[in-house]
Symmetry: C2
Subunit: 355 residues, 2 copies
Amino acid sequence: SRTIKLAVIPGDGIGPEVVAEAVKVLGAVTARDDVTIETSTFQLGAARFLETGDVLTDADLASIQQHDAILLGAVGGVPGDPRLKDANIERGLLLGLRFALDHYVNLRPCTIYPGVTSPLAAPGVVDFVVVREGTEGPYVGNGGAIRRGTPQEVANEVSVNTAYGVERVVRYAFEVAQGRERKRLTLVHKTNVLVFAGSLWQRIVNEVALEYPQVAVDYLHVDAATIFFVTNPGRFDVLVTDNLFGDILTDLAAAISGGIGLAASGNINPTGRFPSMFEPVHGSAPDIAGQQLADPTAAILSVALLLDHLGLTDAAARVNDAVADDLARRSTSVRRSTAEVGDAIVTLLTDKVLK
Amino acid sequence: SRTIKLAVIPGDGIGPEVVAEAVKVLGAVTARDDVTIETSTFQLGAARFLETGDVLTDADLASIQQHDAILLGAVGGVPGDPRLKDANIERGLLLGLRFALDHYVNLRPCTIYPGVTSPLAAPGVVDFVVVREGTEGPYVGNGGAIRRGTPQEVANEVSVNTAYGVERVVRYAFEVAQGRERKRLTLVHKTNVLVFAGSLWQRIVNEVALEYPQVAVDYLHVDAATIFFVTNPGRFDVLVTDNLFGDILTDLAAAISGGIGLAASGNINPTGRFPSMFEPVHGSAPDIAGQQLADPTAAILSVALLLDHLGLTDAAARVNDAVADDLARRSTSVRRSTAEVGDAIVTLLTDKVLK
Ligand SMILES: CC(C)[C@H](C(=O)O)[C@@H](O)C(=O)O
Ligand SMILES: CC(C)[C@H](C(=O)O)[C@@H](O)C(=O)O
């Protein structure tokens, strides 16, 4: 029997509601596997900040690190709340965790499930994975400004890219591609403009490619990639890209595949040195919070990524299948509550067990 | 009678073919206006580089500056051509011109014309303009790398943003918004991550907004903006954004509105101190070059932007109308040559004159 220590960060807005369903599904799917999930809840986010002034303390971080994995709902207060102006919860907490726990792989699958309506007229079969770098690029926080607030202000942002950082994520992307049927990897960057970062990325991809002769590699500029996302998303298998391009492309990927309500993600430290963190791509949506209106599917699909990461691949597949079943049966006329969606997926999981 | 001195840069690949049609249309539309177009052709691009080793000489630049405006086809050689590896024609020539001629406004309209098929299932009415900054941001070329080619390489890119540079483009965007029916301006950035550049952009927009009380302003993170581009593009009226986000968003805009074959752009210096440059958003597409396969519509719509810029607004409107007419009549079964499309638009223009 195995015990998994899970740090749960419900967060703000709809976070607690979707996390409740995700935890419910996690319990249901592991019940038959002789796996015990031991959860500890961390109250972090805008609400905690407003109460205590803390975003992420050293004590929080030390305690979170005692866990095998992290499940996060969503963080962020009401947009424009003046009390949060200088806090930047997303940066301090979300990026804080990604950087502190060295989540250098940000894994974001994109599938159009049967039964799901895409905004594209003819999306075709879409099933790809974006491997987004998570600890470098323009996200490093190495910007600065002089003469702030004056007509002479200069504000710089620095994108930092290291061979070390690029290689480890590129290598991971090749492994993912190697394990898939089409074995195709697309590097997305902007090498014609960001020539220094671009040539580093291109060099590393070229070098690692030699070790993966079965993987077919191509390259797209980020602007051109967005065109293919809407005209021919089926061409993609695995994409590897930097932190900012990955951020942009994965929201677009979510949009074409049925919306941000279905987009799951894993912030992964493949070495196991730090716990990895799984979260829906969506935000805290304070406008619909507390009303059971949020779709917990993205959080539940994030649980599948979590199970996969922990080696419970069979359980992961069962969650994916149950979600696919549920999506295929969804009616556009009946709107279910957040808990009803979670319950339906649990029922589908349990039915499968009984079969 | 007015004489317009036009510098024409046909460029590479399909550039000369589409430019020929654009010049044809320009001649036809101005014929009745007592305007004479005096063109001088500049052989610049990959072909010229391969012949002479020059990308853009001081003499080229000095001579181009003697003109009232520039019409550019497309530049860039065959991707992967080893002889072009270190030249980076796009950077040296296209960005070279944009920076040398201080084209701080990169204007990119996005309209779904009647008769045009969008990859979106239900695009709705789409008619917006992206005002992309053209001389700052991550395009400044202030990157660098150390320990190149080694496992210890560090490659940085610096995005430079100045109050001066941001204010002038933001002010232009407000003017554009003020002149439109919906009077709505959306700032797109990534203020939650690129906090220094982001707060500069946000501050300037807030400040300039006070002078335009009729313009409704909102803000979107760039990732969220891509979602709306596919789920609700009709929500946009005028967008203002930095150089890199604008690059990405305008390719996406082209894709949703019928493809890069229809996307026009103006690289504008609104002060008139330097000639502005008009070009289709598409590239040189060497794979289909010389076969009369390219659609010249984007180049022709760029002529409309050029006429507008020169104050020939009536002629600009006639070109737009003729293109709209032609698009509405296009048949998907009959494929016309590049010249046939140009001729058809000229005929529509002339018919209008006779009416
Ligand atoms: C909230 C924000 C900091 C974050 C990011 O930019 O990475 C989000 O957009 C995401 O994609 O997870
Ligand atoms: C060719 C390239 C340098 C250019 C850019 O990035 O601006 C192009 O993509 C564009 O949008 O005009």
